[in-house]
Point group: C2
Chain length 603, copies 2
């Protein structure tokens, strides 16, 4: 049932009550965390957004009606409480609670809303299945950890907006009902009622709109933009996600990196009180692959890849030999201090890399006495093994893990193995924030099947100035003005300088195997816009959900989204998506394919 508020005003939040208010009257409102009865004494822990405060009702002093009402209170009832702030008696002081030295002696108590027993306790560190959590997300959000994630998200976005505002960016909204393009990931479609048979597409990013805003002279744009991809979900993917999206005119790579690293510094300083030293480390794509086997390396720990192709170049060991002859490489990492891993554990590492298409791992364990234990002993001389160990800076107690294959397989396998080992050995701390820029991405990669180059980023990405001539002579070597920002092994964001020169764009399309006429058909209105004077421009987009996840130390982006979808892209709370009235479909001139209807009826 519940009583009305009827003019009662909250005077402060629960955690604002403090010792300076002793003797004063306050009115607080919130949810009952718990009630404790000690004979004639009732204690209620009342919770609001800020935390808990203790309410005390003394049966020897309080009116009978008030006491009985307090007795009827259950967990999650919503109360308004008026009373006097008093110091707690010494034995009752709780140093773990912000309001642990005081309590409110209630003089009025209103039950604004009763509550049934909740499907799970409103507390952190409880074990609840995700299905249940997200079905009752409005209760899950009452748990302090989940609430605080959203508070942090709010603060981060506010800091970003104020920063970008000061840097003369305009926040501009671009359409959600956009156009579907056949390129890239799968679009969500929206049938049009006014144009039967036609569809809007929900944007995968505001890429083309933001470039057009540059053509229109907006100079600097940003948007906290909802983006959509109809792809199968993974732990850190959602059908709709949020990008901090920006674009700037009359700038080059340096300007964009500078602004964005200053923004991240400000966010981490203001919100987490963590100082990020600037400029951020930078690493070329090539170096990142060579040293870490990844274009989003976690550089909080070492265990870097070492190319030992030359050391083993003269080997007869067929695994290495085949790889090298096929143009691949032999690389290794030194798992420091893992030399005593039992054979079973080493075998599990061998199995692990097979998911990355490696055929196996060669390994050399260095015993504490300096002797070697290895499954490849018979293929190499003692000198050669010693040379490998030396090249890998192997010390007693180390484990050297070697992979031989095509570069891509070697990088993927050892890159992933490195991360797996760091988890196993707990080498990293979540609150150690290690940023870096990855730069100089390749512009094009050869697509064997299509027999032509494809754009690594997108066909509007500009080549590096010093590589423009290579477009003619050796396109595969051209590096792009593209960059990613990486934090602790996660790609936080990325972007590029765009091509604004028509001649360069023409060359680019040529390399991708289509003429300007083809391009016109494909990119139509977008290319038209560039006829009327386009400024040099470029931009970047951050994955906001991921940034917040890392800042919160959460394990999934679902924990930093108010109402997330689960694995099958459904919302367990609302049950969306749902079946709709036939009438609605008629208006849209669409129908559901018969097979579906039949199979549903059969159920």
């Amino acid at each position: 049932m519940g009583e009305a508020l009827a003019g009662l005003k909250r005077s402060c939040m629960c955690c604002d009550v403090n010792e300076t208010m002793i003797g004063k009257e306050v009115t607080v409102m919130g949810w009952v965390q718990r009630r404790r009865d000690l004979g004639q004494l009732i204690f209620i822990a009342l919770r609001d957004k800020t935390g808990l405060v203790q309410i005390a009702i003394d049966g020897n002093v309080a009116e009978k009606e008030l006491f009985e009402k307090a007795e009827s209170v259950r967990s999650e009832f919503v109360l308004a409480v008026r009373g006097q702030v008093a110091p707690r008696t010494e034995g009752n002081i709780n140093p773990n609670m912000k309001t642990g030295t005081i309590e409110i002696i209630a003089t009025e108590l209103r039950i604004l809303s009763e509550a049934e027993t909740t499907p799970f306790q409103i507390e952190d560190n409880i074990s609840v299945k995700d299905d249940l959590r997200f079905k009752y997300r409005y209760l899950d959000l009452r748990r302090p950890s989940q609430l605080n994630n959203l508070v942090l998200r709010h603060k981060v976005v506010q800091v970003m907006r104020n920063f970008l505002d000061q840097e003369n960016f305009l926040e501009i909204e671009t359409p959600i009902l956009g156009i579907s393009t056949p390129e890239g990931a799968r679009d969500y479609l929206v049938p049009s009622r006014v144009h039967p048979g036609s569809f809007y597409g929900l944007p995968q990013s505001p890429q083309q709109y933001k470039q057009l805003l540059m053509v229109s002279g907006m100079d600097r744009y940003y948007q906290i933009a909802k983006c959509f991809r109809d792809e199968d979900l993974r732990a850190d993917r959602q059908p709709e996600f949020t990008q901090v999206d920006m674009e700037l005119s009359f700038i080059d790579v340096e300007d964009i990196l500078d602004i964005n690293e200053r923004m991240m510094q400000k966010v981490f300083r203001d919100i987490l009180n963590v100082e990020i030293p600037l400029p951020l480390k930078r690493m070329t794509y090539k170096e990142a692959m060579e040293r870490f086997g990844s274009d989003k390396p976690d550089v909080r720990f070492g265990m870097e890849l070492v190319n030992i192709s030359e050391v083993v170049g003269d080997t007869d060991f067929v695994v290495f030999k085949t790889a090298l002859e096929a143009g691949g490489s032999v690389r290794a990492i030194n798992a420091k201090g893992c030399g005593a891993f039992p054979r079973k554990k080493i075998d599990s590492l061998v199995e692990f890399v097979k998911t990355y298409r490696a055929k196996g791992l060669a390994w050399i364990a260095i015993n504490e006495d300096g002797s070697l234990k290895t499954q490849i002993a018979k293929f190499f001389t003692e000198e050669k093994l010693a040379e490998i160990v030396e090249r890998m800076d192997g010390k007693p107690g180390d484990l050297i893990l070697i992979c031989a294959d095509q570069d891509k397989v070697v990088f993927d396998s050892l890159g992933a193995l490195r991360l797996e080992l760091s988890k196993m050995l707990e080498l990293t701390k979540a609150d150690d924030f290690n940023f870096l820029w990855i730069t100089e991405f390749p512009m094009l990669e050869w697509d064997e099947e299509a027999g032509r180059f494809v754009a690594v980023h997108h066909p509007f990405t500009a080549p590096m100035d010093e590589d423009i001539d290579l477009l003619e002579t050796d396109p595969g070597k051209v590096r792009a003005k593209a960059y990613d920002i990486v934090l602790n092994g996660y790609e936080l964001g990325g972007g590029s300088i765009r091509i604004h020169r028509r001649d360069v764009q023409q060359k680019m399309f040529g390399l991708l195997g289509f003429t300007m006429e083809d391009a016109q058909q494909r990119f139509g209105y977008f290319l038209d816009a560039f006829k009327y004077g386009a400024p040099p421009h470029g931009g970047l987009a951050f994955g906001l959900d991921r940034i917040i996840m890392l800042m919160c130390g959460a394990s999934s982006i679902r924990d930093v989204i108010a109402f997330p979808k689960v694995k099958d892209a459904s919302c367990p709370m609302t049950d969306a998506p749902t079946v709709v009235d036939e009438k609605q479909l008629d208006e849209l001139a669409i129908s559901i394919k018969k097979e579906i209807l039949v199979s549903e009826e059969a159920e």
Copy 2:
């Protein structure tokens, strides 16, 4: 073609160049507004976001190459110009230009991008068809008025966010891929690939999500939220529009009005330097209808409605008599100073009210000599006419316009007539901002057809405390805790306090003719949430596009949206919505109804 930026850095924006910089070197970048050739002297007006600056190239001094390049420049070319700031010669000073006293003597000029002739001039006060403007919206946005609308929009939103942040609101994103509900306006639907035959609905507002956030204890929520309605477009409607959406817990009507009027005051003060006096005027729904015939009255001018039913109560004039006997009323407005309107003009007013279902207008013109001219002379005594005139405060030169019908028709007709006359007589100024709150909306209205009450706002709107007993005795008289904020005859926003008490909600559903079980089926998860302790809460949503339109003095919300849709809900720039690949539809298990395909083939 275009040259590369190649390390050249912009030193300032065009309009930042000023007299204190005379003699200094600057680098500016932007678009060519116009080029003027005076023999050996070339002037280029260069435009960026901030405005124009004059570039001068003197053929007697400049290098030949530079001069020739300047000669080749056309309108809308994109340039980077390095040069020295110099005072203009006296005859060249332009007091209408912010940078009118200086110019930049170019020492380097780079053509970053050439431009074809644009489909229309990049200037304000040109006459371009909307179709063309929105097809080339990226050029339309180069016009200062359009650019400035987006700049103002950015600033308004930034002020609002900072205000709400300081008032302890959390900005929380709610889903775009939501659930479709059969109530209210038509939803946009999104077919699900993972759940064939099921659909997401795009939200018409985050209403239920924001109420659930209150149930989850977020205390104060806001969002600049994209909302969607698949309804036929009008001048100030778009398929997607933006709401400033908020919800608060543990508050009542006064708190919401207070916060929001302070927010509007701050926005108008910070952005337009206009002082809005607080508290805003308030008017009950009843008073607004009686005095202005509208629940969103423009109170910048008088010409109020006067109920003359009693004065004419004893009439035999059949039009008045019939209306009164049917429970209607006779009301009039005094169109001050319109007594000399020619008959034709008065007739057009009579025609005008017919679109509001009035059967006609009776009129009394007061001649300068005090005599009356009226088409109803024969139905009334001179004394009665004089009484009407007196009641209407009629003075020589006035025109009294009388409408008799059911109240709704009278209000609609005279309300609209009042606005029409104010336009005719130019009684209002766009920069005179007159806010007011409309309060105490009726809770229920009787639906003749359904034979039951329907909710005026929505079924979760709380009744006024003092009217709760009327729910049992006289539900039609119950006033709701609902309120609108009105500016110059436009509804800027509205909201209500929600029902948080289960007993009241039950009564409400009863009046609307369904049991709690029906309600459970209809509102399912939403009602469930209220079982676990709901705080008293309420909120408000502003139509952002409309606020910006009024602040800019724009005539349509399309002028304050970066990429708006036009009348048929299409985007002339991208041509969205479009036909998509059959493969995409297959994946979604939907097909387009045959009739459509056939009729398209026939075209």
